[in-house]
Amino acid sequence: MHQITARVVENKEITRDIFRLTLFAPAVARESKPGQFVHLQCGVNQSYILRRPFSVHQTVGVDAFDVLIRVVGDGTKWLAARRPKDSVNLIGPLGRGFTIGAELKRALIVAGGMGVAPLVFLALKLAEEKVKVYTVMGAASKDQLLDFMDLKRLTRKIAVSTDDGSQGHKGLVTDILGKEIEEADPDVVFACGPLAMLRAVAGISRRYSTSCQMSLEARMACGVGACLGCTVGAKDNYLKVCSDGPVFDTQELGW
C-alpha cells in the first residue's frame, strides 16, 4: 500500500462520459492484483472532501496503470478534466482482489456496464494462469460495451446482451447467464456490475452450485479498513468492502 502523487500520462474519453486515465505509479502498477482498487483524491479546496475509489483497470507496462472512469458527479468530473502532466494523489493498491485458486480450470466472467473495469485485468491474469475463460457481458447499448475487443481476444466465448438490443441479446445479462453457465461449466463465476445484477448473478450461480466471487461497491471514507464506514451486511456481521473486499465470495455474504 502506497500513497503517491502520480503524474497523468494520458486521459482519453473512450466513449461519451467515460474516460481512461493513465497514471504513472510504478509501485502501484507492480503490486496491483485484479479486483484491487486505488483511492483517488479528486482535487483540493473542493466542497466535497473524500477520496473516490476506482478499480485498477489494467497495468500499462510496469510503471503505469489505467482506471476507467464514468463521470457521474463532481469528483469524476474533476478527474475527467485532468491532462498530461497534471497529477493525482492516490492510495493503493487497496483491498482484496479476485482469488484465483491453484486448481482453477474454467472461469466465467460476468461484466455489467462499468463493472467491466476490473475484469480485463482479471481475464489477462486468468489467461496467464492457463485458465479457460468465458465471458458474459451486458451494457445499455453497443457503444457502452467497453473493452469488448480485449475481452473477446482473451476469452473462448463472449456472450453479449444490451438493454436496447443494439448488440447481442436484447435484455439483461442475467437473462442469458444460465445458458452460458451450462455451456461453459465454470469452476467459478467472477462478476462485477450494478448491485441488482450482482444479486441476480449470485442467485443463478447458487442454482448451478457454482462458486461465485463478486466485486462490490460502497461509499468509502478511509479506504484502508480504519473507519468501518463501507460495510456490507453479511450473514451475521458486517464486512468492510474496502479491506475485507471489494471482492467477496457470495458464501461470505450469505447471498
Binding site: 466535497y48 472532501i49 473524500l50 478511509c222 479498513g225 480504519a226 473507519c227 468501518l228 464506514g229 463501507c230
Partner: protein, 305 residues
Amino acid sequence: MGSLEVDIAGLKMKNPVTTASGTYGSGKEYSDLIDINRLGAICVKTVTLKPMSGNPPPRLWETPSGMLNSIGLQNDGVEAFIDNDLPFLSKQDIPVIVSIAGTSIDDFSRLAKMLSAQSDIDALELNISCPNAKVGGMIFGSDEKLAAEVVSKTKMASTKPLIVKLTPNTGDISAIARACERAGADGLSLINTVYGMSVEVDTLKPRLGSIVGGLSGPAIKPIAVRMVWEVAKVVNIPIIGMGGILTAEDALEFIIAGASGVAVGTANFIDPQAPIKIIDGMNKFLEKHGVSSIQDLVGALKIDS
C-alpha cells in the same frame, strides 16, 4: 527550534497531535502509509465490553466540506481489542489512548478496570458523546449529573489518566465540562460529531441507514474552535481539541483558543499524511514566530478590550 512537547493529563507527548477515535482503527491500518511513531499519541476506536455489530449501512454520506457517519461503535469488544490490537500498539513508541463506551456506569467501570491492568495503555478516553449508538452515547454526555457520576465512578475503577470526550449536541458544553472536571476528569477532549442528517430527494429516503448520523470535517471547525474556547475559559484541566482539523493552521486555531493537544480525524481520510504535515507545520510556525514552546500558545488568544 521550538519545542512541541506537551503533557496532557500526565501523558507525555512529543507533540500535541493525536488521532481522533474511530477514524484511525487501531493504528495498524495506517501504518503502511505513515510512520505512526511520529504522532504525539494514538487514540483508538472506541471499545465496548461486548462486541457490537454497529448500525445498518449505508453509514457514510458526504456533505459540503464534511461527512456524516453512523458507524454505531462497531467493535469486537474489549477482549478482542486486548488480544488482537493491543500487541501491535505495544510495539510502538507512542502513548496509547483507549476510548471506551458503555450502556451503564457499571460497563464503564469494568472497562476501566480491565484496561487499567494493561501496562501498554497510557490513558483512557471516556466516550460519553457518541451520537450514533444507544450504548454509551450521548445520554451521559448531555446531562451534568449523569456525566459527573460516570466520570467519578470510572475514575475510581481506573489507574490511568481519564480524558472525557464531550458532545457538541448540548446547549451548554461549559457546564458539562465543569461537571466532569469536578468529578475528577484529568482532561477533556472535544468535540465529537454534530448530529446531522441528509435526504435523498428522488427516493425520499434518508442517506444513512440509521437516519441520523454525526457530522465531522472542516464544516464543523468553527463550532469546535468556539467550544474549545468556551470550555478552556472555565476549566483548569487540559483539553484535546478536534473537529475539522486539516492543516497546521487549523490545529493552531484550537491551541490558541485553549487546547493543549489536538486530534486529527476526518483529515486522515482525505490525506493520511495530514498528521505529519500538521506536526511539521507547527514546528515551522514556532520557528517563524520565535516561540520557544507550543505551550506558550495554549490559550494565547488576543482579545481587544
